[in-house]
Every structure is written in C-alpha cells, then in structure tokens.
Symmetry: C2
Subunit: 169 residues, 2 copies
DNA sequence: TCCAAACCCTTGGATGTCCTAGTATATTGC
DNA sequence: GCAATATACTAGGACATCCAAGGGTTTGGA
C-alpha cells in the first residue's frame, strides 16, 4: 500500500468499462470510484493526525459537535442525526469517549428515554487541540485549489441534498 | 438516519469554523467533510444493489478486478496493490469469496511465496450480473451532471496522484 | 383512562479496514 | 554455499459501521 503504481488504476478501470461496451456509464463509474479512493486517503491523513491525541475520526467528530453546542450537551439521537451515522455508532463512540473521561452521559431532565452526552473539561480541551492540529495538517494542506474547493462544495452539496440528507436551499 | 435534516450539517460546520476564527480553512474542511459523506451515501447505494447477489463492495471489487485480468487470475499482492487496500483485507475477502466458491486459491507456479486467486465459472457469471446491476442502478443514476463528472475525475485524479497513488499523468 | 404504536438506547452479530507479529519462501551478498 | 535481508500471506486484535432484536418510556387515539 505504499509504493505508487505506474498507472492510475481508476483510469484503467474506466478504459475496461469502455472496452466492454459500458461507455455510457464509464465516466460516472470512474468519478464514483475516485470519490471512494479520495475518502480513503483523506481518512488516513486525518487518523494519522488524531492518533497522538488518542482519538479516531468518529470520536473526534462527536467531540467537535459537542464543542459547538451552546450548552455543551446533546441528546444521543440528535448527535446521531447531525453526524448522519447509525445510533449504534454513537453508542460505540460515547462508550469509548466516556471511558477516556472526555464526555459524560446524563439522563434527560424530562424525557426518560433520552440520554444526554456532555463534554468534560478534558474533552473540551482535547477537542480544541485536535481541531488545531487538523486545521494545520489536513484542512490547511488539502491540495485542492480554491476554485476546486468551491466546486466540490457546490456539486457534492447538490448531490447530498438530492440524496435526502437535508431539505433547505 | 432516514429523515432529512432541515439544514445542511456541513454548511453549519463551515459557519462554525468561520465563527471561531478558522475562516482560512473552513472551505477545505467543508469540501473534505462533503467527500466523506458522499462516499458514505454512494457506498450505501452500492451495497444495497449488491446485497441480492450476496456480495459486498469489497468482494465485488475483487471479482471485477479478476474478471478483467487476461488469465482470470492474479497474485494476491497484485490485487492488493491494484485495489489499494491492505493485504489483510484481500485475505479476508478471498476467504469469504472462496467459501462461496466464487474464487479459488492456487499456488504460484514458480514463486512459492505467492498465492494466485482465480475466478470460478460461478464467480465470473456473478461478476457480470453484479456489474450490470451496478451500471443500471448506481453508475447510470449517479445524479452528477456530465460536466461535474469530468471535473471530479480531473480534480480527484490530481489529488490522488499528488497523494502518491500513482505516477503517470 | 389505558393500551398499542412510536421512540430511544443498548446488546450481539456480521463485515471491513488497518496494524502487529509470525511463518514460509526468495533473493542477495559475502 | 550459506547467512542476512526482503517478500508474501495469514493469524489475532482494535475500531468502526450497519442491522436485528430487546427492554424501557412516552404519546396518542379508542
């Protein structure tokens, strides 16, 4: 997984698709495959930066989300909805963050079904440091040009809205 | 995970970044987060289409790769390199595909360290059907415009090359 | 009022990915 | 020719994601 390939495997796949008579979907296939691979590369970079903090991306996302909440606390189902992951994934992440004393569970004051998750002081401090590291090492060195960033945000935003992620503008 | 949110959570995150004085990296952060989320949506679509065939995306990718090999067989290390996943992931996929009689392991004729994986007749047939389904249900309905597809292929291609995935242009 | 339906979280199981060894085979260098 | 290094695959463990199922809580209609 370390040595660069002599040729782009996705371009090869696109050529294979065309050669087999699927030219009409070869380009979207290549674009989708490229998105999958790019995600893999980005995730690896992010996890590398977060590792020294003892965080994974899933746990970091939860910490970051909580750090932006006015009260510093959110119901688990709300976190699940905003992070757009399955509720069991949130349970899993909270279990580990709680064990590390970065968040705490507390019962919802009026709804007995709901559990609130709240940042601890350590959690808030670590979130801030991890965010600074990600900004410096990943987001600040994405390698995408400004125009490409804008284009990605717009195109993928449309895609996500059409896919049913959200409903506004 | 089913109900659409009233607002785009990634746009909200971008605003939060700007509000906290990280405006210089807010846009790349949003673009990268959008890529992560888009990959999640696409993977879910793909797995939904593949489920009736008893395949996951990882196993499908291996079948598809083998179906394009001249001899229908590849060394495991070659498959690992071309799919750009860890060798243990290939071992895992081959274990399951072999159990389903879709591929077979055989020793390399001259290098005793190497194991070849080869499509069975069932494997080749299933790969063809699964590809047709993916072309019809996912790649043919990506929702990306033609111009956007071209742009994605170009921008993400540059990113992947810069990231060290491959060396040719 | 009261019970069925809806909702919330957790547990257990299946998959996939990576990492760190460990074993076996090849290749290289002295 | 033989030891040291490199390469190929596999085993075991940590994490994350999803689904299915279960137990507790709330809500809403009969």
């Amino acid at each position: 997984m370390g040595t660069p390939l002599p040729r782009d495997p996705i371009a090869d796949a696109q050529r294979n698709w065309e050669r087999h008579g699927w030219g009409d979907v070869a380009a979207p296939m290549a674009a989708i495959t490229a998105i999958m691979r790019t995600q893999q590369i980005l995730l690896a970079r992010i996890e590398t930066v977060l590792k020294p903090f003892g965080l994974t991306f899933a746990r970091y996302e939860l910490l970051a989300l909580l750090s932006f909440a006015r009260s510093g606390a959110l119901p688990m189902n709300k976190a699940s909805a905003l992070l757009q992951v399955h509720p069991t994934s949130v349970t899993n992440a909270v279990d580990r963050l709680e064990k590390a004393a970065l968040v705490a569970r507390s019962p919802h004051p009026t709804d007995g079904r709901t559990t609130l998750i709240e940042l601890t002081a350590d959690g808030r401090s670590l979130a801030k440091k991890a965010t600074a590291a990600l900004n410096a090492e990943v987001f600040g060195k994405s390698g995408f040009g400004d125009d490409d960033v804008d284009h990605l945000i717009r195109v993928l935003g449309t895609f996500r809205r059409d896919a049913g992620d959200f409903t506004d503008d």
